[in-house]
Amino acid sequence: MALDEGKDVKGGHDAREYDHQGPFRHVGTRPDRPDGVDKVTGRAHFGADAYAPGMLHAAILRSPHAHARILKIDTSRAEALEGVKAVVTRADFAEGLEGEDWNILENIMAGEKALYDGHAVAAVAATSKFIARDALALIEVEYEILPHVTDVDEAMQPGAPVIREGAAEPGLPEGMHPNVVRYHESGHGDVEAGFAEADLVIQRHFATEATHQGYIEPHACLAQMGPDGRGDLWCTTQGHWNVQKLCASLLGVEASAIRVTASEIGGGFGGKTTVFIEPVAMALARKSGRPVKLVMSREEVFRASGPTSSASMDVRIGMKKDGTMTAAEGTFRLQGGAFPYAPMEFTAMCAFACYDLKHVRQRGFDVMTNRPKQAAYRAPGSPMAAFAVESVVDELCQKLGLDPIEVRLKNAAREGTRASYGPTYPRIGLVETLEAARAHPHYSAPLGPNQGRGIACGFWFNYGGETSVTLALSMDGTVQIAVGTPDIGGSRASMALMAAEELGIPYEDIRVTIADTASLGFNEISHGSRVTYASGLAVIKAARDAKRKLIARAADKWGIDPEAVEWRDGAAWPAGDNAGSFEPLTIREICAEMGATGGPIAGHYEATPEGAGVSFATHIVDAELDPETGKVTILRYTVVQDAGKAVHPSYVEGQFQGGAAQGIGWALNEEYIYGEDGRLQNPGFLDYRIPVASDLPMIDTVIVEVPNPGHPYGVRGVGETSICPPLAAVANAVSNAAGVRLRQLPMRPARILEALEAQTDGEG
């Protein structure tokens, strides 16, 4: 029995986990991260850094067509090439899969049709990279090219090419094109009645293009599988248990047959929450009987991993002259590539989540197109919603002559507000972020010519999920923690801080390891801003479990009740005078004797914490427009976000800054560009333009701490919310600088010039 108090393990009847308001000794400090030296010396091993004796190199053949029936694949010439050890096609994977497992299999290796430019159709393992590459050229694929569609609105039109018949879920509105596969509707009140109360109602159309997570490390793995059907997989992933589950399903073996070890991960942002190449490498390893290394090129990452959805949106908001929002409604159409599950329900649910609205309605459509299967990207679905909604709010403020922060404060959701997606909010921190933004010097700083300021709010849910942690004590009293969530952004440091806090020992005495799938219970993926929340909660609970055991040893030794022993400063102390007079027993002393006093000591946590609090942010940005070229420069940026409790403030700031930077890229320059032929035009960092160092200013941060009741220290997830406001904030700033609203992303220079021109023409 890991924990003796059942209600402590899960939410239980009382979900109020928040029990430590400080003061803290470790939490809130900024020590060096435990893996810092590994990361600055090149010693850290990422996905592509693994090698094995006898290793083969693999390469994947990909469809050059956006939509084509695969009539024939002849691999015989490739197989005959010297050095080629295995060739696989769809026939080498499991049959009879259903649901999302089938979708994922279909995505990683095409079946009857190639569904997008870059779709995998076969793979080769050979004794060198060059032979593998040469072998691809020898595989003959006969395609029947089909009409394609890559645009979300076009894909919904009558007559659009059908990606897959029968993919739609039941319950869709009548008359939908078969490419529309899911539908969401939610809200409350009577929006028409609400609009009737408004002094001004604005309805606008918005569009955003698909972007890519843009992690710098391409997908990479090293697979081994013996004739006994047992295998090992090393890969870069946000969630190795999920990789294990999916590989087992796609290969038709049991989960326990595959041990997955997560490498250091070179960025994910949601894009490494699923599989792309791992089952292919495993299939090649199984067929060849040799270790197989498979690394995506950057071009493959863009063409065939999971970018985000593009969106077409209509938003309508009513406001009174005093700034009161009376009603809001929105329609959000997202394409998620050639498969279902574009995150349109999150777009819909997040859209108006910042506001206290009596009348609100949102609809979402999930649309299939000939593009790669979308994957999660940092608060999936939410940033585009904020772009549309916060743009309309800004325009209403402008037209009514109202201050954008005051208006947002007036309408802000707070504890007790009925959320636009249904439930009533518990304690949340939106108002606090708005107040901090209003008080920030940035908000009142003067602006120059051709400069504009934008503000916007954003919302994301956050997530708990299955979590297992083991905290093992060494004979010398130092601590080894095994967690199951890959460290993407410094989470080892926050885990060690929380354990140090609980155990009262030095931060340096704690080593945090990311365990493989065979060494720890199941862990949900590092996504949904859950790591510091869920693994953190698990570390705290595991430390408390260990502490109880340490206390019991001291109590035994002293011959008193464990209740009469308390733990502080890394030692057991008699609790009060009645407990007796004993010298404190340090963790070091107890551990030195643990073998002889009852055996090894470890703390555990295995449960699904369900108290991830929602999170809000407010961003301020100043932009300068070159009116002659349409080029935008970001001059100043401030992120204000509720972190609940910042465990390692530097890494919290880092999440704020990183989300803002990605959002700026999405707003200004990043986009998937498809040609008439349905092929991706810009599959590289040259023309897929993520922000470079010289594109950005310093990014100021303000950490607001409104504790989350669902975590012992009040921690909220912080990783995702930071990308929600920037699209809107930058668009508002540019619109204010340009004097014309920009409603389509990215705001590339030519698009801004066209908007300026249209405005001049309109006036003339």
């Binding site: 900024r30 600055v40 960092f685």
Partner: protein, 159 residues
């Protein structure tokens, strides 16, 4: 296959290897010399994760052939620390939390070292433009710039 024999110096040590004429210096460092600190983020010179110093110049090792390394002096991230003593840039990158995932970090460090060798007191704009070829997707660059400035200040004091 046409293998090329190459002798060079990496981090001061003599090395010898045979490589395929098509292999890049990055391939050679990683696959033949087991120096995996330089990373391949793009293979086309757009991301800087494979940065090394080649005959005194900062280069993308994915844009140099292994065969071109004959007689070359190459510095990689593995040679940056002096034994157990980290270079000030390495210390400051850790101290400022100027990394999240760490995949771009070796390239950033090598590029920053090359910058400080040329300009011991670079201003923010100089650092930003110098590092424009080193993509970082996690940090928004803010803490990286601060760490480099801090390291530069410390190195100026020590000098």
């Amino acid at each position: 296959m046409s293998m090329v024999h190459v002798s060079a110096r990496v981090n001061g040590d003599p090395v010898e290897f045979l490589c395929d004429s098509r292999e890049t210096l990055l391939d050679v460092l990683r696959d033949r010399l087991a120096l995996t600190g330089a990373k391949e983020g793009c293979g086309t010179g757009d991301c800087g994760a494979c940065s090394v110093i080649f005959n005194g110049r900062l280069v993308a090792s994915c844009l140099v052939l292994g065969a071109e390394a004959e007689g070359a002096e190459i510095e990689t991230i593995e040679g940056m620390a002096d034994g157990e003593k980290l270079h000030p840039l390495q210390q400051k990158i850790i101290a400022h939390a100027a990394l999240q995932c760490g995949i771009c970090t070796p390239g950033i460090l090598i590029a920053a070292k090359a910058l400080l060798a040329k300009n011991p007191d670079p201003d923010e704009e100089t650092i930003r433009y110098w590092l424009a070829g080193n993509l970082c997707r996690c940090t928004g660059y803010d803490k990286i710039i601060r760490a480099i400035q801090d390291a530069a200040a410390e190195m100026r004091e020590e000098a």
